[in-house]
Symmetry: C2
């Protein structure tokens, strides 16, 4: 059964080296008072900050700034941004950074339009509606989360150990500037984490036993092959434009909604990982890398093996004449080799400082007290078992 | 060199069996006076006409109709539609049909906003600007041209033997309804022509010696594999939903602009084919099927062979260990087998009633008196040679 769906991605993407010249015109569509948001200042070191400020000034716009948005962005930044929007009557938000900055900015833009605490958007008990948001433009500096072309974001609340994601069409960026040269300074490690994040976005959708649109499966296989081909090149040669460009455009298409098509949406590794980074503040892509092969191993059985075969044959070129279970195991091994060998990511939870202390509570929270209705339905004890598989 | 590009496809697509319930709401966004355009009445036989009229009436909208839009749509229909829009103060156009109906409707919508003859948009001497158009919504009944998600159209002028295409963002549909069941009644022959058309749209972009975004090449290979897999199924089993759904969504993505990415745009077979159908009114997809393998043969040499190898290995699974030229020739043979064997399309121009009479003038018009700057630059004598290759 191919489900009905609505495709609607009206984000305008300016892709390439010489696109910031369009920034002023794009921002002006929405008004004159701009709140620019960014993280730790790396955009200053790379010269992007000066360039952006110049474009904004040249366009005669009024600039406000909010910096210090952390990886795994916190609700405090969101509160601060929403407050600034109200105080300064901001017309448009300009997020300059990676997924964390863009995610936080989305909830600032929504928070600016309501009277309540922005955490109410994410509090599972309240889940306040997100009907409006100020317009958002983004300048991407890290190929990973796809936030530049989707309507979602994930926010952490360190006080409650919560890390919660939410989608809302109102938060979709109006435009995003994707200049691969802005990722030349991304470290090999962060490049690897970004690649693992994108890979996971695709795997979460690809591994699905509902009938698919074959054309979308082909597309996802192409995206995965792109990541496998170019992530190691970008790690070795950080200023390889071709590699950075392919990774950047792949990050957007891995999660902008196109690949979902008529599928039942049901993610597994992301909810499991959100608990890890909520409790331990590890890099999201790293947590996903550790979990994904174990989750695949755990879900493999006679009823699911066909999807692993498709994956192994079409993505890794494994011989289709082998036994299905052999192909499946080889496919998981090949993925592990990519994540822990080629990308040089840590293989186990202890290596990133995580032990079994919180497994029970994290597993309970990840299934939200019930069942995680993913590729294979998972209950708390399943998630605990998968966490334990990550111990060695 | 990967060129800069702007991605901007704000068409909302309602995909699936049960989406027409949203038609009224979608149309109402643009006003109350609807001009519905369609072709020869097949939409009445299949019951779609009644369903659409009911949705429009139930939404309280005022309905006007223009029928009789022909395949290879004529400028006369466009003139008539533009006139009706002006007379009846139409707010939104609803095209119900295949590419011909949607193409013609686009130029009606543009023509409604100007005082001059709509042919001035297409007359190469005048090329009047297309700055505005009335809003367009489409309901697709044939998977082929991709007009449902792009900003282009092709119009014929039988008096001057001209068949000319033009793109303009203003003509992009606001929304398109893609219900695969609306293509269940498409004949095996028209299904085959549609498949050949889509295949050509991809080949025109894929065969390009500029450096590409690999992720887009992978996507195009996936689209071609989708067509090869599902076109014969849809021909054999016209009501196979999976086949029709894959072909339908592929038709949109083959030409909506995504695959172009950073490429130099330069089409070859389409301009050559437009002359054939301008002079002989043959089905566009059929003309493309006849031309494409000959064009590929003509352009194959040591400088271009690598692209044929990529195509042969990734789309047809030809052994990459063979000699490049062998792979290239095998790839062309496999494509010919698909077009003339599997799809059962006519192989030569004489079989569709075309002889050498107009080759010189058609070739001259297709290169517009100069050079066709495609995959390999073609001059008038090259095009004539390719036409002659199609004689047997």
């Amino acid at each position: 059964m191919i489900n009905d769906f609505v495709y609607d991605i009206p984000v305008r993407v300016y892709f390439g080296r010489d696109q910031l010249k369009n920034l002023g015109t794009e921002l002006k569509k929405y008004g004159t008072r701009v709140l620019m948001t960014y993280g730790c200042g790396s955009i200053k070191r790379m010269g992007l900050y000066d360039r952006v400020v110049k474009e904004i000034k040249d366009a005669g716009l009024e600039l406000y700034e909010l910096s210090g948005i952390a990886p795994n962005p916190r609700i405090d930044s969101v509160r601060q941004g929403a407050q600034m929007c109200k105080e300064h009557h901001i017309d448009v938000l300009l997020a300059v950074g990676g997924g964390s900055t863009i995610d936080a900015t989305k909830f600032m833009a929504a928070g600016a339009c309501v009277d309540h605490d922005p955490w109410d958007f994410l509090d599972l008990q309240k889940w306040s509606p997100i009907e409006r948001a100020l317009p958002i433009v983004s300048i991407l500096t890290l190929a990973a989360t796809g936030s530049e072309m989707d309507s979602g974001g994930v926010i952490s609340n360190p006080e409650t150990h919560d890390k919660i994601g939410r989608l809302a069409p109102a938060m979709l960026p109006k435009a995003s500037f994707l200049d691969p040269t802005n990722t030349f300074t991304v470290s090999a490690y962060q490049t690897a984490c970004g690649a693992a994040d994108m890979m996971s976005h695709i795997i979460e959708v690809y591994f699905n036993m509902n009938q698919d649109l074959y054309m979308l499966d082909c597309f996802m296989e192409g995206l995965m092959k792109t990541i496998i081909r170019y992530a190691p090149i970008a790690m070795r040669e950080p200023d390889n434009y071709e590699a950075r460009a392919n990774l950047m455009w792949t990050s957007s298409w891995a999660i902008n909604g196109f690949v979902d098509g008529g599928k039942q949406q049901a993610w597994s590794c992301h909810p499991m990982e959100h608990e890890l980074s909520a409790y331990y503040d590890i890099t999201h892509g790293l947590g996903l890398a550790i979990l994904t092969p174990r989750w695949m191993e755990y879900c493999l059985d006679e009823t699911t093996v066909s999807k692993y075969v498709q994956f192994g044959v079409n993505v890794f070129g494994i011989d289709p004449a082998l036994e299905p279970m052999d192909i499946a195991h080889q496919a998981i091994d090949r993925l592990s080799d990519f994540l822990f060998g080629t990308l040089q990511l840590k293989r186990t939870l202890p290596e990133v400082g995580i032990d079994e202390t919180h497994f029970a509570v994290m597993a309970r929270k990840s299934v939200n007290g019930g069942t995680l209705a993913g590729f294979k339905p998972l209950q708390q004890h399943d998630v605990e078992a998968i966490y334990r598989m990550c111990m060695k």
